[in-house]
């Protein structure tokens, strides 16, 4: 087993451990929310998954820029992998949000700014995957994807502003408030649960990313061999 593969396996095992501990902490150890009761516990997954999705789209942007600049296939594989996993985590965030929204707000979905923004992000990166899938020529697909990755990322602040001015209903953030330190308005055990889950999601993310990059490299290798024969 190569060292990269071993690293990936260790990452996966660590992610599994953190996920199990995080679920125990979030579901059992942390106290229920004063107003929302148990439904608030989904927050321990919801917040890490959207942060992971953001991280993912940032990696798409970085990979896209690097690819256009240096034309290394490696950067393109990174961007493509990150986009795919980003779509997964964004979709997960929306589903978790809907499950939480039904008992709390009374509706699965509402046209609030942050919800809309997340849905638009999902649409942009689903379009990214479709664009890649529908362009056959390999290098052209990579360049097109890189351009969408960059333009999409540049568009996020503008979409953010426009939908915020349009409407806002989402919970204001309860941890990062400017006037109070987090431990005063949130039970410390809740913060621990959130932190463990956050680490778990980051580990899981990088595990999936490394696996997906390996798959991308194998696919590139396969295409090369089909074109030029075995060397």
């Amino acid at each position: 087993m190569s060292s990269a593969r071993r690293g990936s396996t260790i990452l996966g095992a660590l992610a599994l451990v953190f996920i199990l501990v995080g679920q125990y902490w979030g579901l059992v150890k942390a106290p229920p929310d004063a107003y929302q009761g148990d439904s608030q516990r989904i927050m321990y997954l919801h917040v890490p998954s959207i942060l992971t999705a953001y991280l993912s789209f940032f990696i798409v942007f970085v990979g896209s820029c690097l690819y256009l600049w240096k034309r290394e296939p490696r950067d393109d594989i990174l961007a493509y992998a990150a986009a795919e996993i980003g779509v997964l985590f964004t979709a997960l965030t929306i589903v978790e949000g809907a499950i939480w929204g039904k008992p709390t707000w009374g509706v699965w979905w509402t046209w609030d700014a942050r919800l809309t923004l997340t849905a638009i992000l999902l649409l942009i990166f689903v379009a990214y995957l479709m664009l890649r899938a529908l362009i056959e020529e390999e290098q052209r697909a990579a360049v097109s994807g890189a351009i969408l990755g960059i333009i999409g990322f540049l568009d996020i602040p503008l979409i953010h502003m426009s939908v915020y001015w349009w409407r806002t209903l989402h919970q204001p953030p309860s941890i990062l408030q400017p006037d109070k330190p987090p431990w005063e308005n949130v039970h410390p055990s809740m913060l621990v649960a959130l932190a463990i889950n956050f680490v778990a999601f980051i580990l899981l993310y990088f595990y999936l990313l490394s696996q997906r990059i390996r798959l991308g490299e194998k696919q590139a290798e396969l295409r090369r061999r089909r074109l030029y024969g075995r060397r």
Binding site: I120, L123, I135, E136, L148, I151, L158, M161, S162, W166
Partner: protein, 225 residues
């Protein structure tokens, strides 16, 4: 300046082609008018609600007719290796981008010039005095639409199911333009004043400037890939 001069030459080529064939413009006119009829059939627009629905309906008509133009935008270059021939000339690649943006802008503005009064007549609206400000906002929105549209029309040039893919890629990215333009139009129609619309106007201008610059910088990679 040299860039603009080159863009003018390329634009002249597209305009002459369009003058001789009259394909895009004619189909856009009729499609735009057709949409107005469809709106009436689907919403049964009543006199008391027409003012609040106008900005959205107008923009839907512009966006759909604009899509029609965008899918045809690089059609002349696709045939007979014309794009490759253009790339062989010593033109700046960005000039091609600028010329295509302007060409699409001209097509859409011409359609808008007809659809705006037609809408007022068909739905019995009295916004004649506001037309200059409505046009100004629509111009900014249309420019943003054309900038991103041209860029992705070129990106999807060699994709399978190109006509399907383009709106899928483009619409989510265009949400700031659509929202800002519709809100601006609505504010102007409601109050007749600009002051309330300033944040949205700034957003529109920022969008136009950011993506004009980005398109100008990366178009070279788009056509050469």
């Amino acid at each position: 300046m040299e860039l603009l001069r080159q863009a003018c030459w390329l634009l002249w080529k597209d305009v002459r082609l369009e003058l001789r064939r009259r394909e895009s413009l004619m189909s856009m006119f009729f499609f735009g008018a057709l949409l107005l009829f469809l709106f009436q059939f689907s919403f049964e627009i009543r006199q008391d609600r027409v003012a609040e629905m106008t900005p959205g309906l107008l923009w839907l008509a512009f966006v759909f007719t604009g899509m029609l133009a965008l899918t045809q935008l690089f059609q002349p270059e696709r045939e007979n290796f014309c794009l490759e021939a253009l790339l062989l000339t010593p033109f700046d690649r960005a000039a091609l981008f600028v010329s295509k943006v302007i060409f699409n802008l001209i097509l859409m503005l011409l359609v808008e010039l007809v659809v705006f009064p037609l809408f007022a007549i068909l739905f019995n609206l009295q916004y004649w005095g506001l037309l200059p400000s409505l046009f100004a906002v629509t111009f900014l929105g249309t420019l943003g639409f054309c900038v991103l549209g041209t860029l992705f029309s070129a990106v999807t040039l060699k994709a399978r199911a190109r006509e399907l893919l383009l709106p899928l890629v483009l619409f989510p990215l265009l949400i700031p333009v659509v929202l800002a333009t519709i809100r601006c139009l609505e504010i102007i129609l409601r109050s007749g004043a600009w002051s309330e619309a300033y944040p949205w106007l700034r957003l529109l201008i920022a969008f136009d400037v950011i993506f004009m610059t980005a398109g100008y910088l990366i178009f070279e990679w788009v056509v050469e890939a």
